[in-house]
């Protein structure tokens, strides 16, 4: 394993706990994170079959408040915020002027004019700076208040078919029920902790994300373990989301690709009015796309496909793309990946080859999701 300079790497409040549990740690987005404990395969299957708990303390939390908050955010994000009820959340994207993705995130309406954004760890500063730039005028007029509260929160993602049972055990008698799918609830726990519960996740299973005060991170993590969740690391987080074709910012999503090219048109409401990046997207919708993010599955036994491996025309043909994501699917026991393919190769059933260390392995474009 490579030696990294860890002087700039931050630790979540659970760092010591992870080591006690035997985690293999590595730096991710400037944070020391658990990659795996018992093993990626077993952690992955634990989430698909029971429940797993992930440390997501590195993720970001931004509050947006003000009488113009909803209207302003609708001009900055792709999905329709104005349609949210209080307590409801939605997946959405923040674009640059060229329609490229700055970040994908989940936004929750927590009040009449108050919203809670959960953003990717690697993009917290970029997102906040962008929002400040966009709000500049409104801030001067006193209309938009932005707060980056990322440092205050620790976070856990509890995912799997048994997630509800896990919460019931964690919450105890006075805990209350989890919010319904895609909704948010703010509760005061028995010990006085202010908790934010979001019924969402990145694994394709039922589950929730719990944000608690950083000082209580170990307490709630231990409760999740005691309630039967398997500790799971970023390795399993990646295999789980890839099986569902959920894109990963920095791999499948970046500022060079639009959400339409990524297949996320459902989360882009062109008809709601103006928003940053709308013009480019409207043109793409009218003219058609040149490239699309496709799901690719290996059709022969071979090495796992990995990000940046070449995607090529069959029979030793030329390279047409590279994988943006890739790996071995623990559920399917086959290689899966995603890549932006030129439109004429993007149809389901298209035969391609993956270049691994100079050798070609057959694959094909398949429907999303993989499972």
């Amino acid at each position: 394993m490579s030696e990294e300079d860890n002087s700039e790497v931050k630790q979540t409040p659970l760092a010591a706990r992870h080591l006690e549990l035997g985690a293999k740690m590595a730096a991710f987005a400037g944070w020391e994170m658990p990659i795996q404990y018992a093993g990626i395969m077993s952690e992955h299957l634990a989430v698909r079959e029971n429940a797993g708990v992930f440390d997501i303390s590195h993720m970001g939390q931004i509050w947006v408040r003000g009488p113009h908050a909803l209207e302003w955010l609708n001009g900055v994000l792709t999905n329709d915020v104005a349609g949210l009820e209080i307590g409801e959340g939605q997946y959405t994207l923040m674009l640059n002027d060229k329609g490229g993705v700055i970040d994908d995130l989940i936004i929750y309406r927590t009040g009449e004019a108050e919203l809670f954004l959960v953003v990717n760890a690697s993009r917290i500063e970029v997102d906040f700076k962008w929002l400040e730039e966009q709000a500049y005028r409104h801030i001067e007029e006193g209309g938009i208040e932005l707060d980056n509260d990322s440092e205050l929160f620790a976070g856990l993602a509890i995912q799997g078919p048994k997630a509800v049972e896990v919460w019931e055990a964690m919450a105890g008698e006075s805990g209350g029920a989890l919010p319904e799918r895609n909704h948010i609830a703010q509760v005061i726990a028995e010990n006085g902790d202010s908790l934010i519960l979001c019924r969402t996740g990145y694994t394709g299973e039922d589950g929730f994300e719990l944000f608690c005060p950083a000082a209580s991170a170990v307490l709630w993590f231990d409760k999740a373990l005691a309630a039967g969740s398997e500790p799971c690391g970023l390795g399993a987080r990646d295999t789980l989301r890839l099986e569902k074709c959920y894109p990963l910012n920095g791999s499948d999503l970046d500022e060079e690709h639009t959400p339409l090219e990524a297949g996320l048109g459902f989360f882009v409401k062109l008809d709601k009015g103006e928003f940053v990046g709308r013009e480019i997207l409207a043109k793409q919708k009218e003219n058609g796309l040149d490239r699309r993010l496709c799901a690719i599955r290996m059709t022969v036994k071979g090495p796992p496909p990995r990000p940046h491996y070449g995607v090529c025309q069959p029979d030793g043909g030329e390279q047409i793309a590279e994988l943006s994501s890739g790996g071995l699917s623990p559920s399917l026991k086959e290689g899966i990946g995603m890549a932006y393919l030129p439109q004429d190769s993007a149809k389901v059933g298209t035969k391609i080859e993956i270049d691994v260390r100079g050798r070609r392995y057959e694959a094909e474009v398949v429907k999303k999701p993989f499972i």
């Binding site: 394993m1 293999k24 990659i35 795996q36 093993g39 990626i40 395969m41 390795g235 295999t239 071979g302 090495p303 796992p304 990995r306 790996g327 071995l328 623990p330 260390r357």
Partner: protein, 125 residues
């Protein structure tokens, strides 16, 4: 951590077992523990002539592909078919069924450049 006494070890965690001029090579218990679940093994072609430090095989875990280096010079005379079908053997039996390839050694004195069990134990601690 299992570090059999009779083997020689490279810094890059390959073990070598000598029998006359036939060297059998695999990866150590320490290496397979670090890699965790091994899902794919790529062995060199029989007949290939290799030199010390040359990457000749690849062992892949879920997370990463790791190069395996020839510890000595010579010709690859045999490769392990079993691990290609059942990569887990490298995890479960790294010094036995999990061997990777065999080299007909050109110069057995090259073994002196490798570590013995004691030195390897120090190296990994």
């Amino acid at each position: 951590m299992n570090i059999p006494d009779q083997l020689k070890y490279a810094e890059s965690h390959e073990w070598t077992a000598m029998s006359d001029d036939l060297a059998t090579i695999g990866i150590s218990d320490h290496a397979q523990t670090e890699l965790t679940d091994i899902v794919y093994v790529e062995v060199p072609e029989v007949g290939r002539v290799v030199s010390p430090g040359e990457p000749v095989a690849v062992v892949e875990s879920v997370k990463a592909a790791s190069d395996i280096y020839a510890p000595i010079s010579g010709e690859i005379v045999e490769v392990n078919e079993a691990v290609q079908n059942d990569p887990e053997l490298v995890n479960t039996d790294p010094y036995g069924e999990g061997w990777l390839f065999k080299i007909k050694a050109e110069d057995t004195s090259q073994l002196d450049a490798l570590m013995d069990a004691g030195a390897y134990k120090t190296h990994i601690s």
